[in-house]
Structures are given as structure tokens and as C-alpha cells.
């Protein structure tokens, strides 16, 4: 560890950030003050750490320094008196750092971070603002980085973050230590937000996947952090497992031209086995609790795909059952649509088509509905109807990759209609 190599400082500051900002927020009860205090502490860390080496507990150091600097600032504003030199203020941290580290090992630590995450997902905030705020406040990404990941201008993102902060300040931050019920509600809200962050990265199209990947990675980091704090929560295990298992396929999801490659066509040797191992370990752990939930079920479905070495090894029967379970705990036409894909593998396209027909009114503007419907019709040799469904899908496509994928189907239909007989049945 040399003074020239400062990468370790970045990693230390990033990893200490949620805990440090969370604790500072508890002291100051104001997000801006807490953030500013943390920034000031970081500036001093950048000066002090390369010379003195890393403190034993980076978070405790940052909390201590951040608090002192902020308190001094308040005093200075009050008295208009000059302050002692910077270095003096932080020269004698040894004992204080240890003391604060010991206190932080207690329950505060957990609730500080949870509170920090929780205020970012205030129900008054639209999802996009929740995510932006969490990435800014908890993850410490710069507005510029977030703007890039969201493909908007810096100014637009700045405005989004500022608006979100103002709303949070208006709403007030919940400072009382949460009771058991409240804590589990907060946990659920935070889990949902982490899932949203992940999806922002995951739903990217081929040309933007690389830029947006940090979002998925950051979501995984936050999920692991949350799981460290709440080690026995099966749904948090499920959430983390789900993200790991989905992200394990990231490298295989797009071809060189940026077109989406469907699960069954992916080169499985490009799946990240380490992430899969971790995901499988977590879903294994979660199942032992016998307290099922939507994240666990989705992770279990993803695990079945991960366990299949070849597409034809996929246990579609089990996946059908799991989607059935998901329909019960989280009824949604989209879940039924996904289930229908499994049903088409187990019982054929006819049964699957029958299953999705009732969804039409509710999914009339949903790209995937028409993509899936078209695929079922095509399997049944009902090519004219398939073409209509695919046309509708293209009109509703959210990304160029989605549209390109459907166009591939249409091209195949065209070829089939030019040859004497279309491919009927499966």
C-alpha cells in the first residue's frame, strides 16, 4: 500500500459511505448536512490517509471527523471566530475512533443504513427519483455518473436529485428506532427499490448495456449489504440470489451487434459460474426457512435455468409450478404471461395460448404479450395471426433490440410463406 496507489482509498470510502452517511444523518437529522459532513470528512481522508495509512475503522473515522467538522462549522457561524487548524481538530482521534467503533457494532449501525436506504424510497417519490436518490446518497455515484447510466443530461439528473431531496426533506425523516413491524415494512420497501435499480441496468438494450451495467452491479452490492445487516431474512436472501443469478447471464445476453439473445439461445459457457454459485447458495439457504415469498420464487425459477447445462435440460414442469406459486402471492398478468411460456414447453402452445387469451385486455399495450402470443401462434402454424401479433409487438417495442428480435420472427414467417408449406405444430 503506497502513497501513490490511491485506489484503496476509493474502495474504502465507497464501502464506508452507507454507514457513515447513515450515522451522520442520525446526528444531524438533515440529509444535506449529513452529506456535506461526509464530503468534508472525505476531503480530509484524502489528505490524511495516504500519509498515515488507513484508519482501523474507516467508517468510524469518517463519522467522527464529519461530525466534528460540521459542529465546528456551526460554532464558527455562530461566533464568527477563527477555528483551529484542520489537522489539530483530527489529530487525536485514536480513542474516540475506537469508542465510536464499538458503539457502531451495536444495533445503530443496522438501523442507520436501513433508514438511509428507506428515506430514498419514500412513497411520495416516483420510482425514477427513488433510484436516482439512492444512487446519489447511498452509493455515492456522482450526478454525472447517474445521468450517464440513465442516458439523460447532467442537468436533468441534477434536477431530479434535487427535487427528490426536497421532497424527502418536506416529508421528514423517520428517526425513532423502528419497531419490528415497521422494520420489516422498511425492509420490503428498500428491497423493492434495490430491485428497481437492478432492473434499470438489466433492462438496458444491447447498445446501452455496457453503460448501464454499473446499475446492476451497484444493486447487487446494496443487496449484499442489506443481507449482511439482516442475515436471517429469507426474502432478502431471495432478492440477492435473484439479482446474482440474473446478472450471471449478462455477458451472454447480447450478440456482437447488440441484439438480444434469448435464454435458450445463449452460450451458457459465458454465464458467470461464480455468481451462479453464490446465487444458488443463497436460494438454498432461503428455502430452509420455509417462508416463501416473491423474490425467493423468482430466484428459484432463475436457479432452475442456471442449473440446466443445456436448454433442453430445463425443468419446465417445475418452472410452471413455481410461476403458479408466484401467481398466488403476487397475482399479475405479466406473471401469468411468463407462466404461459413454461406451459407451452410442458403442455404445448395450444394450452399456453388459451392461458394468455384472457390477459389481452390488460396487456393490450405490452410488448412482450404480443411477442409471446406471436411465438405461440407461429408454433401452431397460424402464421397470419402470428404476423399481426408481431406487427403489434414491433409497434410497442421499448428498445431497438426488442424490435430487432421480433423482426427476426417476421422474416422467418416471410420465408416460410414463400416455401410451399409452413412449419406446423411444434
Amino acid at each position: 500500500m503506497t502513497t501513490t496507489d490511491t485506489a484503496w482509498i476509493d474502495a474504502a470510502l465507497t464501502s464506508a459511505r452507507p454507514q457513515a452517511v447513515g450515522a451522520l444523518l442520525r446526528y444531524f437529522r438533515n440529509l444535506d448536512t449529513a452529506e456535506e459532513a461526509y464530503q468534508n470528512a472525505c476531503l480530509r481522508a484524502l489528505k490524511s490517509w495516504p500519509q498515515n495509512g488507513p484508519p482501523r475503522d474507516a467508517a468510524a473515522w469518517l463519522i467522527m471527523v464529519g461530525r466534528n467538522v460540521a459542529i465546528d462549522e456551526v460554532r464558527r457561524n455562530r461566533r464568527q471566530a477563527p477555528l483551529p487548524e484542520d489537522d489539530q481538530a483530527i489529530s487525536d482521534l485514536g480513542d474516540a475512533e475506537q469508542e465510536i467503533a464499538e458503539r457502531l457494532d451495536g444495533s445503530h449501525y443496522r438501523d442507520d443504513i436501513l433508514r438511509l436506504l428507506f428515506i430514498c424510497c419514500h412513497p411520495d417519490l416516483p420510482a425514477t427519483q427513488q433510484i436516482a436518490l439512492a444512487l446519489r446518497i447511498v452509493s455515492g455515484l456522482t450526478v454525472k455518473q447517474i445521468a450517464r447510466a440513465f442516458l439523460v443530461s447532467d442537468a436533468a439528473m441534477e434536477q431530479r436529485v434535487t427535487r427528490a431531496k426536497a421532497r424527502v426533506a418536506e416529508a421528514g425523516v423517520p428517526f425513532e428506532a423502528p419497531g419490528a413491524v415497521e422494520r420489516s415494512q422498511r425492509l420490503a420497501a428498500v428491497a423493492a427499490m434495490i430491485y428497481l435499480i437492478f432492473n434499470e441496468g438489466y433492462s438496458a438494450s444491447g447498445d446501452t448495456a455496457e453503460i448501464r451495467k454499473p446499475l446492476s452491479e451497484e444493486a447487487i452490492r446494496l443487496a449484499r449489504l442489506l443481507l449482511r445487516l439482516f442475515q436471517s431474512e429469507p426474502e432478502i436472501m431471495g432478492l440477492t440470489a435473484l439479482l446474482l443469478l440474473q446478472h450471471a447471464r449478462a455477458e451472454a445476453r447480447f450478440d456482437a451487434g447488440g441484439a438480444l439473445i434469448l435464454l435458450e439461445d445463449q452460450d451458457r459457457s459465458r454465464w458467470n459460474r461464480k455468481l451462479i454459485a453464490e446465487g444458488l447458495a443463497l436460494i438454498d439457504k432461503a428455502m430452509r426457512h420455509r417462508r416463501s415469498g416473491p423474490y425467493q420464487i423468482q430466484a428459484a425459477i432463475s436457479a432452475l435455468h442456471a442449473r440446466a447445462e443445456k436448454p433442453e435440460d430445463t425443468d419446465w414442469k417445475q418452472i410452471d409450478l413455481l410461476y403458479g406459486a408466484l401467481e398466488l402471492v403476487q397475482p399479475s398478468p405479466v406473471v401469468t404471461l411468463n407462466r404461459a411460456v413454461a406451459v407451452s414447453k410442458v403442455r404445448g402452445a395450444e394450452a399456453a395460448l388459451e392461458m394468455i387469451e384472457p390477459l389481452a385486455p390488460r396487456l393490450s399495450n405490452y410488448f412482450h404479450f404480443f411477442g409471446v402470443r406471436g411465438a405461440f401462434l407461429m408454433q401452431l402454424g397460424r402464421n397470419d395471426e402470428a404476423r399481426i401479433a408481431f406487427d403489434r409487438a414491433i409497434a410497442l417495442a421499448n428498445t431497438s433490440a426488442e424490435a430487432a428480435h421480433i423482426r427476426m420472427h417476421l422474416d422467418r414467417l416471410m420465408r416460410d410463406s414463400q416455401t410451399p408449406r409452413g412449419k406446423a405444430g411444434k
Binding site: M1, A7, W8, A11, A12, T14, S15, A16, P54, D57, A58, A101, D105, E217, R221, R224, L225, L227, R228, Q231, S232, M237, T240, R273, K274, I276, A277, E278, A281, L282, K285, R288
Partner: protein, 126 residues
């Protein structure tokens, strides 16, 4: 004598490495490992998955299965090396080399009492 070199580090910190940082560290460690392997002194090496994937069995009566690692500590057991060394000095030297390649945290150097090389052909995920 066989020594276990147990790797402790702040998991949050290691988890905050970028993929590039992680790979750079592993590459540096591989150099040290290769030297030991070349000398025929390197036994099994393991990097453990995060402690979030850990489960602990308390051998109470009846035994209790708990989620998470055995101890809640600031630094976690993240992996280990088994290295054949003539004495403690040599083992400390190996740890120093590893430490230079991957600064931060701590190595616990523990002489091994009993050792079964084992026979599993299962490969850990790469």
C-alpha cells in the same frame, strides 16, 4: 511443516472493488502462488463466497442452524492457503509476499495439525 494462512479482510471493502481492481489483485496474488507452486510448496487454496452465503451450525443440544458466519467481526474470513514451510519464519515470509500483493486486512498463520489432502474432483466455479 504445513501452515494454514487464513485471510481476513473487511468484506464490505473487498466487495467495493471494481471488477478491474479485483482482477488486478488476483493477478498479483497469482504470481506469489505460482512461485510457491513451482517450488512444490503450495497446497489447496480457497477463496470463500461472501459471508452472506454462510451458515453456522451451533453444536448445541439439539444443534442449531444459524444464518451467517460464526462471528460478527469487523474483518471476515475470506479464504485460506495451505503452504509447506520449513518454519514459522518462512511462513511469515510467504504471508508478507501475499500481503504485498494484496494489502489491507490480516493473515492468521496457523500450523496445521492433521491434514487429509482429500479426493474430490469437484471444481469450484471459476
Amino acid at each position: 511443516m504445513l501452515y494454514a494462512i487464513l485471510c481476513y479482510h473487511d468484506e464490505d471493502f473487498v466487495g467495493s472493488w471494481t471488477k478491474e481492481q479485483d482482477e488486478a489483485v488476483m493477478k498479483k496474488l497469482a504470481v506469489v502462488q505460482e512461485k510457491l507452486a513451482h517450488q512444490g510448496r503450495l497446497g489447496p487454496v480457497a477463496r470463500l463466497l461472501p459471508t452472506t452465503a454462510a451458515t453456522t451450525l451451533r453444536k448445541d443440544d439439539p444443534p442449531m442452524v444459524l444464518d451467517g458466519p460464526y462471528a460478527e467481526t469487523k474483518e471476515q474470513l475470506l479464504g485460506f492457503y495451505l503452504v509447506d514451510c520449513a518454519n514459522l519464519d518462512e511462513a511469515v515470509d510467504v504471508a508478507r509476499d501475499l500481503g504485498a500483493a494484496n494489502p489491507g486486512g490480516a493473515y492468521e498463520i496457523r500450523p496445521v495439525g492433521t491434514f487429509f489432502p482429500g479426493k474430490t474432483s469437484v471444481k469450484a466455479p471459476a
